[in-house]
């Protein structure tokens, strides 16, 4: 891990104010989400504390605003800021888990394809090609739809979050697999792997320990850029009403619920979760862009 | 009067680590119909001089001093649009690699026609007829059929012939040919050079022929300029420079040409390498490699001065300096 944070990377980090700003923003978002139970001014899920009298309060800076609810309240009198912090928790959880899943899946399949070669390689890469013909979000929607159809409704509702993680993860594995496969193909033909075979070591084990460090930087870059995609994909699915259940609202769910009040003038219920989503995704994407440029030896 | 006159030309490249001087105090002239060969190692500034003359220096490179005059008129400070009318019409250009010089998506006929209609008061119909004529003149067989072919349908040598036709078709008075044969097969190089030489003579076109191939220079040029580290080291009639070079660098360069008339055990080579633009030594740029260097060479930069029947930038030829 230490190798990543060597002086070169740190130097290029401090030289780019946009990157520093994105890093700070991303950190604030993550901290706000992770520590929501302690930081949020209200608990939006504590039904006892909800007061319908407080419903539809506009943000604190407008005339009818209330300082207790800085970003206003929704139709049930829930504090929008607190709902955002709890919602970001779900969004980030799904995002990170989906990326972890597709990394694991992609790296494993990429290693296998590169190492075994032949038919396995051809089959896996053909599947990846076909899947890449379609946009990731469509694949995620479809996987989600199939699982939804396959499972009884009550079972599905219980594991909905995992279904979304699974669907988004599946939609994103080919990128990882292709990169890892490429590096594996290069390593496989090197002499030390042949030598390992001769002296009876398992070449697969040797390769894993040699290939993995080589592909760490590209995998890290793809993972960072995928995190933005995964968060957006989750928000899109939830907005479409086929993502996480309303009992655990993510930012996408909040935006969908708030969308109903757009016309009656309560814009803050949907716009603030939207802004939170944009800020989060933009900062993650900028970090990913920077990481890609910084780790790319061609540009250095 | 000279056709082209370059006076004290200086080209700079501003970079993050300070300004690099790519060309420094370069002066020479080309008479109408004359062929001036420009030789030197890669990076000596030969191609840069050509680019400065046609007004197409790659940014951030810029002319920082001196003048370029075409028929007595300054062209180095013209607005883009006026300079554009000179390019192709007054000064034609030939580039090194014919495989990349032609636009792959247009037929050679179209590229010829658009060049002529841009500069000459003729319509597309006449331009097409002339284009066929040009292709015949540069030796493309069955020109009337081949005019609608795309560049990839020609071999490298044929493509360079097309490039020559393109450079000449608006009848410029001067051609800047930048390494026109370097990318070609050795067997074709001689044909293309012979073609260039013949056409230049027939049309009375002057030529600045940039190359690192001394054989090409000896065969084609009337005069030759030897460049080193962004400056002209020696300039003079081609016979003199080849046979009796006066600058130690030119002498070294000439000694490295394999002679055709006798066997030699080993060609001479110049020790060391040309300095990078960021590390040009004080005094004469050649002094660290020069076998004759003395005190003055390390402190003072020599300008061109008469030396024998050429001009050389070398203190060995200064008044009162002992050889």
């Amino acid at each position: 891990m230490r190798a990543f944070f060597d002086s070169d990377l740190w130097w290029s980090f401090t030289r780019s104010p946009v990157t520093v700003l994105s890093a700070v923003t991303a950190f604030v978002c993550i901290a706000g989400a992770v520590f929501a139970p302690w930081l949020a001014p209200h608990n939006p899920f504590d039904l006892a504390s909800l007061q319908l009298l407080d419903a539809f309060k506009p943000p604190a800076w407008s005339a009818e605003g209330d300082l207790a609810y800085p970003l206003g309240t929704d139709d049930q009198g829930r504090d929008v800021l607190s709902a955002i912090m709890y919602g970001a928790r779900v969004s980030l959880l799904v995002g990170f888990a989906a990326v972890a899943f597709s990394t694991l899946l992609g790296v494993t399949l990429g290693l296998l394809a590169g190492y075994l070669g032949g038919k396995v390689d051809a089959l896996l890469m053909r599947i990846a090609d076909i899947q890449l013909t379609f946009p990731g979000i469509l694949v995620a929607l479809l996987v989600d739809g199939i699982v939804r159809a396959a499972l009884p409704r009550d079972v599905h509702d219980q594991i909905a979050v995992f279904v979304v993680i699974f669907a988004i993860g599946i939609s994103n594995w080919p990128q990882f697999a292709r990169t890892v496969r490429g590096s594996t193909l290069v390593e496989r033909n090197k002499e030390y792997v042949q030598a390992a075979r001769v002296i009876g070591l398992s070449p697969l084990r040797i390769m894993v320990s040699h290939v993995l460090p080589n592909v760490m930087s590209p995998v890290l870059v793809i993972a960072t850029l995928s995190l933005g995609f995964a968060i957006l994909a989750e928000a899109t699915l939830s907005f479409l009403g086929v993502g996480v259940p309303p009992t655990q609202p993510s930012l996408g769910t909040l935006i969908r619920i708030g969308n109903d009040f757009l016309f009656s003038g309560e814009w803050w219920i949907t716009i603030f979760p939207g802004v939170a989503l944009i800020v989060m995704v933009l900062s993650v994407n900028l970090l990913g862009d920077w990481l890609r440029d910084a780790l790319n030896p061609k540009l250095r | 009067m000279s056709l082209l006159e370059v006076k004290n030309l200086r080209v700079e490249f501003p970079t993050r680590r300070g300004t690099l001087v790519a060309l420094d105090d370069v002066s020479f002239a080309i008479a109408p119909g004359e062929v001036l060969g420009v030789v030197g190692e890669s990076g000596a500034g030969k191609s840069m001089t050509g680019a400065a003359i046609i007004g197409l220096l790659e940014p951030p490179g810029r002319i920082a001093g001196g003048q370029i005059l075409l028929e007595g008129r300054r062209i180095d400070n013209l607005p883009y649009e006026q300079m554009r009318r000179i390019r192709g019409r007054e000064i034609g250009a030939i580039f090194q690699d014919p495989l990349t010089t032609l636009n792959p998506l247009y037929t050679v006929g179209r590229q010829l026609v658009e060049t002529m209609t841009t500069h000459l008061p003729i319509g597309p119909g006449e331009a097409r007829e002339r284009a066929i004529g040009w292709l015949e003149q540069v030796g493309i067989p069955a020109a009337r059929e081949r005019i609608d072919s795309y560049p990839h349908e020609f071999s490298g040598g044929m493509r360079q012939r097309v490039v020559i036709a393109l450079a000449l078709c608006a009848e410029p008075k001067l051609i800047v040919a930048d390494e026109p044969t370097t990318a070609l097969d050795v067997s074709i190089q001689a044909q293309v050079i012979a073609l260039l030489k013949r056409l230049a003579r027939e049309k009375g076109t002057a030529m600045m022929l940039v190359t690192h191939d001394m054989g090409v220079i000896a065969e084609t040029a009337d005069r030759v300029a030897v460049m080193y580290a962004g400056r002209i080291a020696e300039i003079g009639p081609v016979r003199e420079v080849v046979k009796h070079a006066n600058h130690p660098y030119s002498q070294g360069l000439m000694a490295s040409i394999p002679p055709l008339d006798r066997r030699v055990e080993r060609l001479q080579q110049i020790e060391g390498a040309m300095p990078r633009l960021s590390a040009i030594p004080k005094g004469c740029a050649y002094n660290p490699r020069c076998p004759h260097a003395f005190d003055r060479c390390q402190t003072e930069r020599p300008d061109l001065m008469p030396a024998g029947r050429t001009e050389a930038a070398c203190w060995l030829h200064a008044e009162g300096s002992a050889r």
């Binding site: 053909r126 599947i127 076909i130 013909t133 379609f134 946009p135 979000i137 469509l138 929607l141 479809l142 739809g145 939804r148 159809a149 396959a150 928000a235 899109t236 479409l240 009403g241 086929v242 969308n259 757009l262 016309f263 003038g265 949907t270 716009i271 939207g274 989503l277 944009i278 995704v281 933009l282 994407n285 | 197409l56 883009y80 554009r84 009318r85 000179i86 390019r87 192709g88 019409r89 034609g92 250009a93 580039f95 690699d97 010089t101 032609l102 636009n103 792959p104 998506l105 247009y106 037929t107 658009e114 841009t118 500069h119 609608d148 072919s149 795309y150 349908e153 490039v163 393109l166 450079a167």
Partner: protein
């Protein structure tokens, strides 16, 4: 030329085959169509009859072949949710989606390409910097948020444009078009911008980087050395050379428009295929999902084929034999 098309069609076959296999697997193995279609009260005999009617007692390959045969004829059975033929539902919704997608694609190309050319040519002008910042936001904004922001601004606050539906449509045979009425056109504006914006920014960035690449090539330098006008160099020579990669990627991106139409149609309650699909996903309506999947695959394959043909038309190097111009 003919051989070229045939070879491309052969490459498309595995994609279509895989997708139909997935569609078929959804039909045959996901959920229990018999239970869904029978409802609450049924006898065992009725159940057996239905299984036979649906061909579910046949071997796998027979079922798959039957499915393929039906699919080719546009026959996908009844929607579980709406109890109407799927083909009919899709034919009803297709004009709305296609008109939306084409308008969005048109906006993306008609605005994205000139912006890309401009930012590629004048890299350091303030307008270029503005376009680039704008494109970064465009890439990071999710489609549904763009839609919500547009609705908030132009429908709720300014009240200029409608926020849902297609407005008044005119029927031309089985096709229904919104292009012929003022209200139909007004209703199309916001959804089309929403759908096209993301592709627009992508196309702009792509054209820009290709343009910068091409401007560095020798043939552009040579075109300048021949004294051609800036117009001829930039648009005649440079732009045409950027087209080859731009067509490829833009083609794929335009395919993405069909997919993202799902989101846009949901935001604007646009009565198209995407809305139908998302309602089917919510209701586990397998026949509609399967049919939609096949249709989308067909669209993508067709777009890829068109891209290849355009490529062929633009780049003479792909043509075999001696070209004679046009």
């Amino acid at each position: 030329m003919f051989a070229f098309i045939i070879s491309r069609l052969l490459q498309a076959l595995p994609v279509m085959f895989t997708v139909s296999l997935i569609s078929f697997a959804m039909f045959a193995y996901v959920g229990d169509p018999v239970a869904i279609m029978l409802g609450q009260d049924f006898t065992e005999a009725q159940r057996q009859q239905l299984i036979r009617d649906l061909g579910l007692d046949q071997p796998f390959f027979v079922q798959f072949a039957t499915f393929l045969g039906n699919a080719v004829q546009g026959e996908f059975g009844l929607s579980y949710r709406l109890s109407r033929p799927v083909a009919e539902l899709i034919a009803e919704r297709a004009p709305a989606t296609l008109e939306l997608a084409f308008t969005a694609a048109f906006i993306a190309l008609a605005v994205g390409v000139p912006m890309g050319v401009y930012t590629g040519l004048y890299r350091n002008s303030w307008l270029s910097r503005f376009f680039l910042t704008f494109s970064l936001i465009g890439v990071s904004l999710p489609t549904f948020l763009i839609g919500i922001l547009l609705i908030l601004t132009f429908s709720v606050w300014l009240g200029w444009l409608p926020s849902f539906g297609r407005g008044e449509v005119t029927r031309l045979g089985w096709w229904s078009t919104g292009f012929l009425t003022w209200s139909g056109i007004k209703a199309l504006i916001l959804p089309a911008i929403t759908l096209g914006l993301f592709q627009l920014t992508l196309i702009m960035r792509l054209v820009r980087s290709e343009m910068m690449e091409v401007l560095r090539t020798d043939y552009i330098k040579f075109a300048r050395a021949r004294g051609l006008s800036n117009r001829a160099v930039h648009f005649g020579h440079a732009l045409k050379n950027t087209l080859v990669p731009v067509i490829t990627i833009a083609g794929l991106q335009l395919g993405g428009i069909i997919a993202f139409a799902i989101v846009t149609e949901t935001v604007f309650q646009w009565p198209g295929m995407g809305l139908l699909f998302i309602q089917s996903v919510g209701a586990a309506d397998i026949p509609v999902m399967a049919a939609y999947l096949m249709l989308i695959a067909l669209v993508f394959v067709t777009i890829n084929l068109i891209v290849d043909l355009l490529y062929y038309a633009v780049d003479p190097r792909l043509r075999v034999g001696r070209g004679k111009g046009h």
